[in-house]
Amino acid sequence: MRRRVVITGCGVVTAAGTELEPFWRNIMAGTCFIGPVRHFSCPGMDPLTGTEVELPEADASTENARGGRCGQLTLAAARRALDHAGLRAGSPASEGGGVVVGTTLGEERQVGELDDRWPASGADSIDPGFFSRSDNHRLATLVAARHGLGGPTVVSATACSSGNAAIAWAYELVSSGGADLMLAIGADALTRSIYTGFLRMGALSKSICHPFDRRLDGVTFGEGAGALVLEEAEHARRRGATLHAELAGYGLSNDAHHITAPDPNGEGTVAAIRQALATSGTALGEVDYVSAHGTGTPYNDVAETKAMKAVFAERAAKVPMSSIKSMLGHTNGAASAIEAVACTLALRHQAVPPTANLTEPHPDCDLDYVPLRGRPMPVGTCLNLSAGFGGFNVCTVLKRAP
């Protein structure tokens, strides 16, 4: 017998805001935060286009920065979600809790800092601290140590669906009884390998990303983190927590098609959606909104549109689907966690966020992508789609709180 899992806290640190209300207001207005990158550089490629997070002073402390930029973003989102859930470090409710962090790149900048010293110093540039700094598991233990979490500390990597994968594993632990409370986080910082790699593969937008638009020509990257507190429903009720939404289930698949390119027909996405619907007991007609992966690449956006049609058939065009990456850029492993927070807010506010930069749909993208501005509407069930380099597909299902 599965236990019901509810979302009792959310946190985001994004270019669109580092608190829930401004974040929601900004994305509903369709404000695009993509612009010149000021605090991160990439040799031979500057100026970069993307999004960056302006962290408040409390989150940008030296102590938080010691973990690296990704750790800093992770800690900032975790604190917000735990505060939102009304949990204090070391409280009985949090002691048995754990954390799953999903990340595409982790502390990759630690490697960059070492390599910057390499031409001058060679092997002497390798300092003793590199061993633990290059260990991505640190992202989870930083959070657990800071907040007195004594349960599982897990870091999962499924490329750009890592945030959703973290949510799925946290859900699995709570629903099966392995833990009463789990913090699920997706986090990533801007890194030079992702910029240069996508440039060389021709997958980087020449301007800014335009998901589902005729001008779609590639990805624009960003940084950020999203966090959700997942809790067993009765555990949450007993401590008087506010139930913001229910996490009803998830679906997984792998394309096993190509090391970089997604399945062109979106078959893996179809499988993940169908499994998510089946395991959450959701009928097709119940789905009110789909948060798209929507990266702004022809590969993804056309395949995702095909997948929607394969699953929803004639109803596909009637289910609003949008991509907030049009405003935040693609924050890699953070993206689907941030998008899960957006779905939670959509359920709370009874409105769905838009796809910005969408003025003329791509000829192969003919669904309702909620162009330009958010839309008030009844929202009872959301699907949160994500896909990653290497064929990793994860879909989570969020519903109004029971």
Partner: protein
Amino acid sequence: MSAARSDGAVVPPVAVTGASVLTPLGDSPSTLFAALLARRTAVVPLADLGGAAGAAIADFEATRYANVRGLRLYNQPTRLAICAAKLALADSGVEAAGLPKEQVGVILASTFGHLETLIEYDRSLVTVGPQRTNPALMPLAIPSAPGAAIALAFGAKAFSVTLSDGGASSLDALGLGAALVGGGRAKACVVVGAFSACRDLVLAAGRAGLLAQASDYRVFDRRRSGLAFCEAAAAVVLERPEDARARGGRPRALLGGQASTFASDPGRLAPSLGRACEKALRAAGVTPAEVDLVCSGASGSRPGDAAEAHAIADVLGGAAARVPVSAPKANLGDSWDASGLVQAVSAMSAMESGKAPPIVGLEDAEVPGPNYLLEEASLAVHHALVTSISHDGACSALVLSRPHG
């Protein structure tokens, strides 16, 4: 048999139907186990590291084990993982049974599996500039890349998930694999862990004082002085027992419970691992008195080994003096992401052979209480407890049981 989880929820156990290892002491569970029984050790001084301890597989040639397209593009941990997965799938009979690809999943334990490629790619950005880097390297330089390569190699379409939990990775991966298979998300799941320390990582660990001198390497001993990295991979195939039997497969062990905990303070490691053991035993429906063997993750770490010993003694209580404790890292060194799987496979070998290997090099145990195996033992193993502690405080425990009938 059904297993009660910590809250009383009932979760059926999952069967292990195939296993493999690739280690410096053997490339099959039987050859490794024979080497452990024979007290052989793989730990030697690493070249040009001043005698620091380590172990590597001699003359590893991936094509001996797997004929997979693209193998030459992948780094050593990825090749090891693919080969271990291939061997475990073959051992289970899942490959021959021709399960639909949509019903086969992959869980990879890998914290550092991408690191060598990332360093190679990133260093080339600095040394030759972004326009002259090898674009084929970047997709292989992210932490999920080895998992993508394994899924691609076997056409595994149910899922591929990578867990990067340091030394606790592979026991956590077994827990996730069991949950996904038990929950019906795949008919079969290969859980694989692989580790091969790249040079930068070894240098950093050596400079951090984490590595023992090869001449001093030992576990649980009062004179232990640190770790020895060991290149290795291991894999198991998980299926629901009824699915395995339906295709003519043989459950070789049942995975009844797994649990993870964390302690940031080294002084709290023992109670933290103790909690993980207790949760895993409860989940498996096994009492401490029913445990027949502990396969410990003791690695030579000063805080880690002491915590393992205290936790084992505390959890087993009155049974501690009777239940034999083995520790394969004494022979192999620490294979990090693969280590929990190597221990699990060793425990399965003990179950099947009725023997348990001694802890090589242990002369003066620091913590009294546990029944450290100093000589090979003959015993009937119905339930084995497998433990692991990562260097950063993650603790994980797993219970394996002998199948009925």
